[in-house]
């Protein structure tokens, strides 16, 4: 079976016929290309057209989920049979069920998501761009001795969501990304870093010269990195480190984390948890946003949610299940893959832009850290305890001086949010999460 709408209608009809109360179907069909060029030669050329679908059913307030990549009719029939069988083993849960009918809908806005141009960009053109970008990056400095590759990827997605309450929505997206990783070497120590650009539209990608330049600068500035002393200092988060800070918030202010008690933000609704300057927003309708969409993965219209308003936690992000369980309104934030149940997640999630140029923030620090990247391990969501491996540049008398590496930064998320003292004016979206430069007055550095 090929037509996604026909498949969704067939599955809804057949599952209802087999006695379930409610059903929804999510179908995703992608076309992907990925090309890697390394040292001027193609390393990998990859192409695929994967598809998959997920069926979620409810019966007597029990639920089950099945999924497959096999769309043949007899296979789907078997899967439907299995779905109806296994729903019997789960427990009845009063919070289960599709969204209430009046909540369903599609946002009535013009959201540019599909770039017609994707058809017309040839593989040769992509390869030429990658080769040029890598060559430009490697030519920036003789200390750049190796490359970990220039990578292109693009995809076209067709997503269909339909349910037995009569909702039918479909969206077509395109996305592109291009990146470059370089290696520099001095005194037998190698350093690596990268830069990238991503967009729904080819013409909105950064020029390859810029990506090459930033990748080279980021790699070169790590040369000669030393371990800083163990001490308490102010820490300036650059936009990349700031994105990690947002990742932690994104994991802990969602309804699922709250009812699972896997969050330090439990019982904090309407409390002042951060400084006045800090406002955190999730906007599912941001123009050109990589996280934008017209409806969420349960069929609720996307919207803009102000989550932390001038330091006060105003809302959690909730899908229908967590909303019912917590007695909290839904926020159009349901998200799932075909093989998982919906949970809540962010779309375009950002810290509102401040007014201070980043240079002034750095200039305000007498002795401290400019944090440029952090590892992903080392945060306890339950307590908010934060301890991350880090890389950065040391600030001395208001100026960036030498690179620092192989150390940790530690604090607690709640303390960090109360200790933000300056927010920059350099907000820029590269992914679905973005923060301007900001300063936290005190964190513990674990070094030598």
């Amino acid at each position: 079976m090929n037509d996604l709408k026909v498949i969704s209608e067939y599955i809804i009809k057949e599952t209802l016929k087999n006695g379930v109360d409610q059903v929804d179907v999510l179908i995703v069909n992608n076309t992907n290309t990925k090309i890697t060029v390394r040292l001027g030669q193609i390393e990998e050329l990859k192409q695929a057209n994967p598809k998959s679908l997920g069926i979620r059913v409810f019966k007597d307030k029990r639920k089950a989920l099945t999924y497959t990549s096999d769309f043949r009719k007899d296979s789907l029939q078997k899967l439907i049979k299995r779905t109806v069988e296994i729903v019997k083993v789960t427990s009845s849960d009063e919070y289960n069920g599709l969204p209430e009918h009046n909540l369903l809908g599609i946002a009535n806005v013009d959201l540019p998501q599909f770039d017609q141009k994707i058809e017309s960009i040839s593989a040769d053109k992509k390869i030429k761009m990658l080769k040029e970008m890598e060559k430009t990056g490697m030519a920036k400095d003789p200390l750049i001795t190796n490359s970990d590759g220039a990578v292109w990827s693009d995809s076209r997605s067709h997503v269909v969501l339909a349910n037995s309450e009569g909702f039918f929505g479909e969206q077509h997206y395109t996305s592109y990304s291009i990146s470059l990783s370089l290696v520099a070497e001095k005194n037998n120590v190698k350093q690596t870093d990268y830069w990238f650009s991503g967009s729904r539209y080819f013409d909105r990608l950064d020029p390859i010269e810029k990506i090459a330049d930033v990748a080279a600068q980021r790699t070169l500035r790590k040369i000669g990195g030393i371990k800083p002393k163990t001490q308490k200092v102010p820490v300036v988060f650059d936009p990349i480190a700031g994105r990690d800070f947002l990742n932690i918030l994104a994991q802990t202010l969602i309804g699922d984390a709250i009812y699972s008690k896997n969050s330090f933000l439990i019982d904090k609704l309407n409390e002042k948890i951060a400084v006045d300057q800090m406002t955190i927003i999730d906007d599912g309708l941001l123009k050109y946003g990589l996280g934008s969409r017209l409806f969420d993965d349960e069929g609720l219209p996307s919207r803009k949610n102000i989550i932390i308003d001038k330091g006060v936690l105003k809302t959690y992000l909730c899908d229908c299940y967590s909303a019912r369980k917590l007695g909290h309104p839904t926020t159009g934030s349901a998200s799932r893959g075909v093989s998982s149940n919906p949970s809540s997640s962010t779309s375009n999630f950002y810290m509102q832009n401040g007014t201070i140029p980043p240079k002034e923030i750095i200039a305000s620090v007498k002795n401290g850290l400019y944090l440029t990247s952090v590892d992903w391990v080392g945060v306890n969501y339950v307590t908010g305890d934060y301890s991350r491996g880090a890389t950065g540049i040391w600030i001395k008398d208001g100026k960036l001086t030498y690179p620092v590496q192989e150390f940790t930064v530690a604090s607690n998320m709640l303390e960090m949010m109360q200790n933000i003292s300056m927010i920059g004016n350099d907000l820029e979206f590269r992914t679905g999460k973005a923060a301007p430069t900001f300063k936290i007055d005190e964190m513990m550095i674990g070094g030598s």
Binding site: I42, E43, S52, T192, K261, V377, G378, N412, G446
Partner: protein, 509 residues
């Protein structure tokens, strides 16, 4: 995250008493279902002739060689939360991956539509890595030898859901009973059975059935306004009988997850800066995975990206360290009967008494570096080409008693359980996140410590290993390693080890 290779357990996620024997008999044996070759060809709707035809197409533009990887994977999972069975899922994913190789260049395409024309389109797309069409040579088919490391009896995916529900209920009961401070438990059991069929232009052919099951428990303990989480997991390439063995029983899993949460309610801030660290047995093997393992995967070395490149024969660790990657340990999560390009898994000595001995290879790196394949060519699924990956990475045991090591430390950190780790293979700096740790004072374990990150440079930390105990242990947890966008099931192990200095990321000056 890009280009930083990592490992994690499900630790970011979460006993019963009696096992009723009669339920265990209800599992079917997968051998009778899908094990035979004829069935495998029927499953994918192809014959050897058709497969040869596809390989010819993939190689036709002048590639050196080409291979086909068919996969059919059944997965299921159950989740218990708030004392009810909350979720059940069941999925089937199937497809074909076609690879054409020219030197060290790879053309790859995959399809989940197994119509012959669609498979041919994929073979054609893969062929474009080469552009010098010529005569096609395909060797006669020669079935590969393989090992027999996992029993296919009582496979979890074949067992009745009731049996698994009973198990997760037992985990939940054990956790809740352990202490009244446990206010929440989430228990999942997830399993899969992967059936694969491989053929290449050099005549290699094999099929394999790869089982996997993992049971995970996450708990929350609360006391006044203090709250902490705990986690435990057990599994591997095993059937459900595994959960009847000592240390793997549902109550073992539930109690362990509860214990950690309750203990950590009293956790104090960890020190910051360089400390003596004693790594407990089993999960501290994350150290080897990050500090040694990734840097010795041959792709990073043939490209000159690893800090271990061109260092075979050099001293890269203290003489106490012998580190091995072994894909041949029965039932472990990282073990394989055969790798994903037809090579036998091996027991590769990476570091022997501190000296670097060799790398882990896939077929491309073995050819380019003129080395013997080590059986480390693995792929997440038919959607990815194989690359060098670890299997089960461990350190051989030493001579001293674990207690001796702890007694030798006046002030330091004892690290026991880990959420994961990460490494920059270029410079060699790695981190790992500890969620169960204790202070060592005057040779004794004292206060539990809050979650903390340890950071170090691979070769430096390995040189700082000063004592190795006689208690090497493998972890049975759900380790999943990430590299180049591919997730891979692995395991790891280590004896109790003393490291004279690692930087500890605490908050206490």
């Amino acid at each position: 995250m890009k280009r930083r290779d990592f490992i994690k357990t499900g630790a970011a996620l979460g006993a019963g008493v009696i096992v009723l024997p009669h339920l265990w008999q209800a599992c079917q044996s997968a051998k009778t279902l899908q094990g035979s070759v004829e069935n495998m060809e029927a499953l994918f709707g192809v014959t050897k002739e058709k497969m040869s035809e596809l390989i010819s197409v993939a190689i036709s533009n002048g590639a050196d060689r080409a291979d086909l990887y068919f996969e059919y994977k059944i997965s299921s999972s159950l989740k218990l939360e708030d004392d009810i069975i909350k979720d059940v899922s069941h999925g089937i994913v199937m497809g074909l991956g076609v690879r054409a190789v020219k030197g060290d260049q790879v053309g790859y395409a995959h399809t989940d539509d197994l119509d012959f024309d669609k498979m041919k389109d994929a073979a054609k797309a893969a062929s474009f890595i080469a552009n010098n069409p010529g005569k096609v040579n395909i060797a006669a088919i020669n079935a590969c030898k393989k090992l027999d490391l996992y029993s296919l009896d009582k496979l979890s995916v074949d067992c009745k859901l009731d049996q698994k529900i009973q198990l997760i209920n037992q985990v939940n009961d054990a956790a809740k009973k352990y202490n009244s401070k446990i206010t929440k438990a989430t228990v999942t059991i997830s399993d899969e059975m992967k059936q694969i069929m491989y053929m290449d232009s050099e005549g290699k052919y094999f099929t394999d059935v790869q089982p996997m099951v993992m049971m995970r428990a996450r708990t929350i303990a609360e006391d006044g306004d203090k709250r902490q989480g705990g986690y435990s997991a057990r599994g591997g390439r095993v059937g459900l009988n595994f959960y009847r063995e000592p240390d793997n029983r549902p109550e073992d899993i539930g109690i362990e997850a509860a214990q950690i949460a309750v203990t950590n309610l009293d956790a104090v801030p960890a020190p910051a800066g360089p400390q003596i660290v004693v790594l407990g047995p089993s999960e501290s093997g994350v150290l080897l995975h990050e500090a040694v393992g990734h840097g010795l995967e041959a792709d990073f070395n043939r490209k000159g990206l690893s800090n271990y490149a061109n260092k075979v024969g050099e001293k890269v660790a203290s003489e106490h360290c012998t580190v091995i990657d072994s894909g041949i340990i029965p039932n472990l999560r990282g073990s394989i009967n055969i790798d994903d390009e037809g090579n036998l898994p091996t027991e590769s000595v990476l570091i022997e008494n501190g000296i670097l001995r060799g790398y882990m290879h896939d077929s491309i790196s073995a050819k380019v570096m003129k080395a013997k394949p080590t059986g480390n060519g693995r792929r997440q699924s038919y959607k990815f080409p194989p690359i060098p990956r670890m299997t089960n990475t461990y350190m051989r045991g030493g001579n001293c008693e674990p207690e001796e090591i702890i007694k030798s430390v006046k002030y330091g950190v004892y690290a026991k359980r880990f959420g994961g780790g990460q490494v920059d293979i270029t410079k060699g700096d790695f981190t790992f996140g500890v969620y169960e740790a204790y202070l060592i004072e005057d040779g004794k374990l004292t206060a539990p410590l809050k979650d903390v990150t340890l950071i170090g440079n691979g070769p430096e930390v390995m040189r700082n290993v000063t004592m190795v105990a006689n208690d090497p242990t493998f972890s049975k947890g759900g380790w999943t390693c990430g590299k180049n966008g591919q997730r891979m099931q692995v395991s790891l192990g280590i004896p109790t080890v003393k490291v004279s200095e690692i930087t500890v990321g605490g908050t206490k000056a």
